[in-house]
Subunit: 399 residues, 2 copies
DNA sequence: TCTAATTAGTTCTAGGATGAACTTATTCGG
DNA sequence: CCGAATAAGTTCATCCTAGAACTAATTAGA
C-alpha cells in the first residue's frame, strides 16, 4: 500500500482494493466501527483491520471516540470517520425559488448551511453569482480552504440528465431549459468533479444516508408540495432513467382531457394533487400571500381551514401513492416535501387514500409484507444535504 | 479445489469462489468464452483460466466448439457451457387457461416443450395432475432422468409472493388465492429447490436471457393481452416488490369512479386497455368464439376489422406506456403479450400514443437518451422459458 | 469483586487471485 | 505465401485476502 491519496481512493477506479472500499464506505455512511465496515463491505474482519491500521497511520481515517455502549454487552466499538482535514464537499440546491449551499467535510459534518430566496425563474447569471457569493461566505471562518474541495453536488429543482448535466424542458424553471450545469458552474470549480441530479433524487440520497430510509435498499420517495414527484431507489441505487426523467410521479397522465399541466400534457396527477390550488385558497381565506410552510404551521397550531386543506391534499396525494403501490409495491415510501412536516394531519388521510387506490388491501398479505409509509425527517435541507451525499457517493458523475 | 459438485456450486452460498461465479455465470448466460466470463465476472483472465482447467477436468464444463470467427481478427474464442449431463431444469407455466412444461439442461438446451389448454379457474388438483403427467412425458425418450433435476421454476398467471410462494388475491384465478405453490408442487419434487414468480417477471427473465432485452440491465416489460401488466428490471435484477406486487401497471387507478375492474378497484388502466372488449367485438363480428391470437393472425392476413381493433388497443395501451415513461424513463420497453405478435400493427399506434402520454417529447433529448420500444421475440413460451431461467438464475428462491 | 458471556479488534499463516509476460491461433495486407 | 496485427488463452512469482485463533474491553449476574 504505497502512496495512497484520499482523492484517488475516493475515485471509482480504485474501488476494488480493501482500502478503497473502506474509504468509500466511510464516505457514504459517515461514522462507522471496524465491524460495521466489515459487514457493509463484505470484507473479512482481518482484512478491514489490516487496512485500517495503514489508513490510520496515513491519517486518512481518525477515531471519533468509543460509543458509550448503551445497553449492549461486549467490548464497545471504536467509531471511525474519514479525517475531516482530508477535504470538504459542497452541496448546492438550485431550487425553483431559492439557492442553498452546504459546506461539509468528508466526515459528514455540516460546516455551513445558507440559503437565499429568489424570484421564480431567476436567471442563470444570477444563480452563478449567488452561488459564488454563498461559497465564499461558507469558507469564511473555516480552516477548510477551497483547495481541499473534493467535489461539488448540485440538486436541481427541475428535470436534469445526471450523465450529461443538461436541463430538460422545465415547467418550473422555463428559462433553464437546455442549460448545461457543468458549463454554468464548472468555471467556478476548476478541475473539481461536479455531480448533479434533480431535487427528488438528491432528497432520496439524503433519506438513505441520514434520513427515514436508513437501512433500506429499496424504497420510494414521494414528494408532495407545489409540485408532485419523487425518486426510486432500487438495490441501493437511485434510478435516474435514461434521460434523468425517472420518478416523475406527478406527471403521469390520468385523464388526457383533464386540466392542462405546466408540463404541457393534460390531466397529470400534479394538476389534482399539487398544493398550488389549496395554497391559493388559503391566500384568499387569510387575505395575504402565503407559502406551504405557513399553512402547515397554522394547521399544526390548530387552524381548522389549514388542517382541512392539508387533509384534502393528503387524500388527493393518495392517488399517486396508489400508483406507487401498484407499480413498485415497495417496502417503504418516504413522504417528502414541505407538506410532510404536517405529520399525522397529512399522513392519516394519505394512508387511507393509499388503502383505497392500492391494489393490495389490508389483510391480503401479512403485515411484514405491507408497505410502510413514513414522513421525511428533513424539514427543508433534504435536497441540499442529498447534493452533499451525491459527492460522498459519487453518484451520477459528470466530469 | 477439492470435491466440488455442480449442485453446490450452483447454490448461492458458494458464490464467492471463482469456480462458483463461473458456474453461475454460465448457468445464467448459457454458452460463453473464457474471455467473456472474465469480463462478466470481473475476475482476471488468469483466474478464470485456472478455474476452467479444473472445471473441465471435473467434466462440469464442456467445450462446444470454436466460433467460426465471423469477420473478426485474432484467435477465435472457444465457447464453453456447463456440461449438459450435469443436470436438468424444469420450467412450469401455471397460466390462467393453460399449463406448460419445459425441460431444459444446464447448457440452456430445450429438451422438451409441451402445453395443455384448460378451462378458466381450473382447480389446484387438476393442475398438479397435469403437471405430473407433462413432466413424466417430458422425461420419456430423454437420457436425462428426474434424479438429475437441479431445480424447478414456476411462472404463475397471477400475483404470487416469490419469497413465500403464496398466491395473493387473484382476479384471473380466484380459487387460487392463498395457495402455497411450494406445498402444491413440493411433494412432486422431493428436496429439489422450487422457485416461483409471476408470469410477467418470468417473461422479463426470458427477455433478459434470450430475448429482446439481452445486454440491457434496466428495462421494463409491458404486457398487452387480456390482462395488462409487466415487470421491472433494475440493475439486472427483477423487482418483485415486498409482496410480489411490483409491475402491476394494469391496476393503476386512472379514475376512481370508472368501470369496475376484476381486481376490486375501479377505473384501472386494464379496464381501458385490456383486449377483452375488442375480443368480444371480434367475436360478435365473426360470430364465433375467438382468442387473441386469432385476431392477430387475421389482422396480419389483412382483415381490416381485426387490424383496427389491434390499432385501437395499441392507442389505449399507450396510456400505460406513458406512465412507464414518466415513472421510469427506461432505456428499453419490451412489449410482450400475444398482441405483440402483431408487430407494427400494434407498435406504430403504441409509439404514437407513448409520444402523446409521455413527459419527454420527441426533440427534448438526443436520440441516444430516448426510450426504445421493441416487441418481444417470444410468441408463446416466453414466461415458461423464464421459469427455466428462474432456476438458472436462482432468483426468488423458495426452499 | 470475581467469573462467564458477549462483542470488538488483532495477529499469523495458508491458500489463492492477480497481472505481466508468454504462447497459440487466427485475419489482413503486401 | 509470409510477416504484422490482433485477440484468446496459459503460466508463474508475488502479494493479499480470509479464516482460525487469539487478545481486549465491556456487561450481567453471583
Amino acid at each position: 500500500m504505497n502512496r495512497i491519496e484520499l482523492k484517488s481512493l475516493l475515485a471509482e477506479s480504485t474501488v476494488a482494493t480493501p482500502a478503497g472500499r473502506i474509504v468509500r464506505t466511510l464516505s457514504e455512511r459517515g461514522a462507522l466501527s471496524a465491524t460495521q465496515i466489515s459487514r457493509l463491505t463484505g470484507l473479512a474482519k482481518s482484512t478491514v483491520s489490516t487496512a485500517l491500521t495503514e489508513l490510520r497511520r496515513l491519517e486518512m481515517v481518525v477515531e471519533v471516540g468509543s460509543e458509550a455502549a448503551s445497553g449492549s454487552v461486549g467490548r464497545p466499538a471504536t467509531t471511525l470517520t474519514l479525517n475531516p482535514r482530508a477535504g470538504s464537499c459542497i452541496g448546492i440546491l438550485v431550487g425553483q425559488t431559492e439557492i442553498q449551499v452546504i459546506l461539509a467535510d468528508v466526515a459528514h459534518t455540516v460546516l455551513s448551511d445558507q440559503s437565499v430566496l429568489l424570484e421564480p425563474d431567476y436567471s442563470t447569471e444570477l444563480a452563478a453569482e449567488v452561488v459564488a457569493r454563498l461559497i465564499a461566505e461558507a469558507y469564511e471562518g473555516q480552516w477548510h480552504a477551497p483547495e481541499g474541495l473534493l467535489g461539488v453536488g448540485i440538486a436541481v429543482g427541475g428535470p436534469v440528465n445526471p450523465v450529461t448535466g443538461k436541463m430538460l424542458r422545465a415547467g418550473g424553471m422555463p428559462s433553464w431549459a437546455g442549460v448545461d450545469m457543468r458549463e454554468l458552474f464548472g468555471a467556478m470549480f476548476d478541475g473539481v468533479p461536479i455531480f448533479c441530479d434533480n431535487e427528488s433524487n438528491c432528497a432520496a440520497i439524503a433519506e438513505m444516508t441520514w434520513g427515514a430510509a436508513q437501512g433500506f435498499d429499496n424504497f420510494i420517495v414521494y414528494t408532495l408540495d407545489l409540485g408532485v414527484g419523487g425518486a426510486i431507489v432500487a438495490g441501493g441505487q437511485v434510478l435516474t432513467g435514461i434521460a434523468g426523467g425517472a420518478g416523475e410521479f406527478g406527471h403521469v397522465v390520468l385523464d388526457p382531457e383533464g386540466p392542462p399541466c405546466r408540463c404541457g400534457n393534460r390531466g397529470c396527477i400534479e394538476t389534482y394533487a399539487s398544493f398550488r390550488g389549496p395554497l391559493a385558497e388559503a391566500e384568499r381565506h387569510f387575505g395575504r400571500p402565503m407559502r406551504t410552510t405557513d399553512v402547515v404551521e397554522l394547521a399544526l397550531a390548530g387552524d381548522a381551514t389549514c388542517r382541512r386543506l392539508i387533509e384534502e391534499a393528503g387524500a388527493a396525494g393518495g392517488h399517486g401513492l396508489g400508483l406507487i403501490g401498484s407499480v413498485f409495491n415497495p417496502p417503504l415510501v418516504v413522504v417528502s416535501g414541505r407538506l410532510a412536516t404536517a405529520g399525522d394531519i397529512l399522513m392519516k388521510p394519505l394512508a387511507a387514500s393509499f388503502e383505497r387506490y392500492g391494489l393490495i388491501k389490508h389483510g391480503d398479505v401479512p403485515d411484514s409484507a405491507r408497505t410502510i409509509l413514513r414522513p421525511s425527517r428533513f424539514t427543508d435541507n433534504g435536497a441540499c444535504m442529498g447534493a452533499v451525499g451525491l459527492v460522498l457517493r459519487h453518484h451520477g458523475r459528470l466530469q
